[in-house]
């Protein structure tokens, strides 16, 4: 069973997914960040593969991508960093990035590498459903990778149903029309949107992303879903941290309400 499915099947408490840009703040920090996240009690780790032109991302993540690239991060270097992450990292791991570096690496070779190092799923926001179904789905499935799709407040019910049908693991519910890190907090409008989706009785659980930065917004978002995703707020912490491990552990515990 894919680690993602196992997690959602067994968990009652809200699930916390945290995004971290690979090779940030320093090129060699990737594994340190993963270990600290797990130590703090994170449920899913989403590793950002840096890209020169991340159009769905706001300033914070863009900048971290650029720093990581300038430090020499590449797709193959990332796989090198992750090659011994299992079994010490036991939580599900997702790679998030943009389609072009994956195309250049070779889609099949990329998926094979993901399986080798123990990646459970992919989030590629500029790979739309139609292209995925036509050219990628069979390859992803061959290597046991879940492709995580996004829905937004503007996504029609009909399309949400199509996305639900083709999704595995969970659906990434974007809380508002925005790039990452653009807004903070969860409004009542957004809570209404979460409830509307909940009422659709989809086969896949949802995690809410965008605008989640602290325990309060995490709890609010989790009321209408299985949990939530934190990205920009955590990347900001990475950029400013003096004691990386300690601050990461503390951050995760604060979100989960642990001491």
């Amino acid at each position: 069973m894919n680690r993602i499915s196992a997690l959602f099947a067994s968990r009652k408490e809200p699930i916390l997914n945290i995004y971290a840009t690979a090779g940030y703040p320093n090129l060699g920090d990737t594994m340190l960040v993963l270990n600290a996240l797990q130590e703090g009690g994170v449920d899913i780790i989403e590793i950002g593969m840096p890209y020169s032109d991340p159009v769905a991302d706001g300033e914070t993540i863009q900048q971290s991508n650029q720093v990581s690239l300038d430090q020499g991060m590449t797709v193959s270097h990332l796989f090198d960093q992750l090659k011994n992450m299992r079994p010490s990292i036991s939580v599900p791991v997702l790679l998030m990035g943009y389609i072009n570096p994956v195309l250049q690496f070779g889609v099949e070779r990329f998926c094979q590498k993901c399986q080798e190092v123990g990646v459970d799923g992919l989030i590629l926001p500029d790979l739309p459903m139609a292209e995925y179904q036509q050219s990628y789905q069979s390859i992803f499935e061959r290597y046991g990778l879940f492709n995580i799709f996004l829905i937004t407040p503007q996504t029609s019910d009909e399309r949400i149903k199509q996305i639900d049908a083709v999704s595995e693991g969970f659906i990434y519910m974007v809380s508002s029309a925005s790039t990452t890190g653009a807004k903070s907090g969860i409004s009542t409008d957004q809570e209404t949107y979460f409830k509307r989706i909940e009422a659709m009785n989809l086969k896949n659980p949802r995690l809410v992303g965008f605008g989640i930065s602290d325990r309060e917004s995490f709890i609010k978002a989790s009321n209408g879903a299985s949990g939530a995703i934190i990205g920009s707020a955590f990347v900001k912490l990475l950029g400013n941290a003096k004691n990386l491990r300690e601050e990461i552990v503390g951050f995760v515990k604060s979100i989960k309400g642990l001491k």
């Binding site: 890209y51 159009v55 769905a56 650029q66 690239l69 193959s76 195309l103 250049q104 739309p128 790039t179």
Partner: protein
């Protein structure tokens, strides 16, 4: 020259051969899908056509002349016509597309406009139609381009647009496009994105090509009047994203007697590491919503391009042009900064027309084309050079 089995028109799924598609985040899907479903229907409406052609005539000043460049013709010992898009209101062909798209935005019920701009020509053309229609207008422009195209920045501001500097990456057209897309992601409901070239997700490349196709539509009847035949032997245009070339080529895509000639910005030379010649240096990849040829590293990171011309300073190319290049339907030339500057000076001195730096790349092809004395060439004179005067003054030492 043309393989009968190859189509140069967009497929149902938005592809030109292997290139095209709509690689966009889900946040943009509803807008792009709405456009895809309706753009042809809206464009074909008699009321749309009537308004479009009325504005092209009385606001833009179309048809633009097809001018026989006698002294250039004599110099290169061939027959050269200039399609005078530089005489369009706002000084370049860009306005053909912005007129079309602002009418489209109205039909889509949008009342705010966002756009990217490189040289500032598309930004000015967008700000102009927004003023005309009373719509709010935000233009993203690379910080470097804001410096080198100052007159156009002032024009946009005078037309009521907000100009926002793109500070990321190379601070040029690519980054302005990223920022415009991000703005659209953040304002999907009330805003239409007027892309200025034949790039972006389907249906943008096809829609922009269709709005620009007025250029070759006019060339056909103008050439018929002047030469007794409606096709040239060569049609030449510069290509950054490729909108003026798409418009000039459009009605000749399936005309085997017309060679399509595209000029790309080689910058300091294609081997110099400072270039924007995508068909020479690019590989298939995805940028700004479509699969096309793209200048990129082995790792799939987009390379920051270089050209003296802000309008050609782009690491990609429209998917139609990628298809024209790889299928051999169009011949691409790499033109350096230096060659373009010389061609600009030559056109100014021989014909009394100061061309835009972008356009000068197309004019520079005559030194390499080898057109015969009786052959007819049409160059799309896509824009005028006023905006480039500061660059010309410096590079051509006009103040000495």
């Amino acid at each position: 020259m043309i393989d009968a089995g190859i189509s140069f028109h967009v497929s149902e799924k938005g592809y030109y051969g292997d290139f095209g598609g709509a690689f966009i985040p889900e946040m943009l899907y509803p807008n792009v899908e709405e456009l895809r479903l309706h753009y042809l229907e809206y464009m074909m409406e008699p009321s749309f056509q009537k308004e479009f052609h009325f504005l092209l005539k009385d606001f833009v000043g179309r048809p633009t002349p097809l001018f026989k460049a006698e002294r250039l013709s004599a110099k290169y010992n061939t027959q050269i016509y200039l399609k005078r898009e530089d005489l369009c209101h706002t000084g370049a062909h860009k306005v053909n597309n912005t007129i079309g798209q602002i009418l489209m935005a109205k039909r889509l019920g949008k009342h705010k406009i966002v756009a990217e701009t490189g040289a500032g020509q598309h930004g000015v053309a967008t700000a102009t139609v927004c003023a005309l229609m009373g719509m709010e207008c935000i233009i993203y422009m690379g910080a470097i381009d804001i410096e080198r195209q100052a007159p156009n920045v002032a024009r946009m501001k005078m037309l009521g647009a907000t100009v926002v500097a793109a500070q990321s990456g190379s601070k040029t057209l690519k980054d302005a496009t990223n920022e415009a897309m991000r703005h659209w992601i953040n304002h999907p409901v009330d805003t239409h994105y007027i892309i200025g070239s034949v790039v972006g997700p389907h249906p943008y490349p096809d829609m922009v090509a269709k709005f620009q196709s007025i250029i070759s539509e006019e060339i056909k009847w103008q050439l018929q009047e002047k030469e007794g035949r409606d096709y040239p032997d060569y049609i030449l245009a510069c290509v950054g994203g490729g909108s003026n070339a798409a418009g000039a080529f459009y009605h000749y895509l399936d005309e085997p007697r017309t060679a399509l000639i595209a000029a790309e910005a080689a910058g300091q030379g294609i081997s110099s590491g400072h270039s924007a010649a995508t068909t020479f240096l690019g590989k298939p990849g995805v940028l700004h919503g479509s699969k096309s040829l793209l200048m990129q590293t082995e790792d799939g990171q987009v390379i920051e391009p270089y050209s003296i011309s802000a309008g050609l300073d782009y690491p990609g190319i429209g998917p139609l042009h990628a298809h024209l290049a790889t299928s051999g339907r169009a011949k691409f030339f790499d033109i350096t900064d230096e060659e373009a500057l010389a061609a600009a000076l030559e056109c100014s001195m021989l014909e009394g027309i100061i061309p835009a730096l972008e356009t000068a790349h197309a004019l520079a092809v005559f030194g390499k084309l080898g057109a015969k004395p009786n052959e007819i060439s049409v160059v799309n004179l896509s824009g005028r050079g006023d905006k480039d005067l500061a660059t010309y003054q410096k590079a051509l030492k006009l103040n000495d």
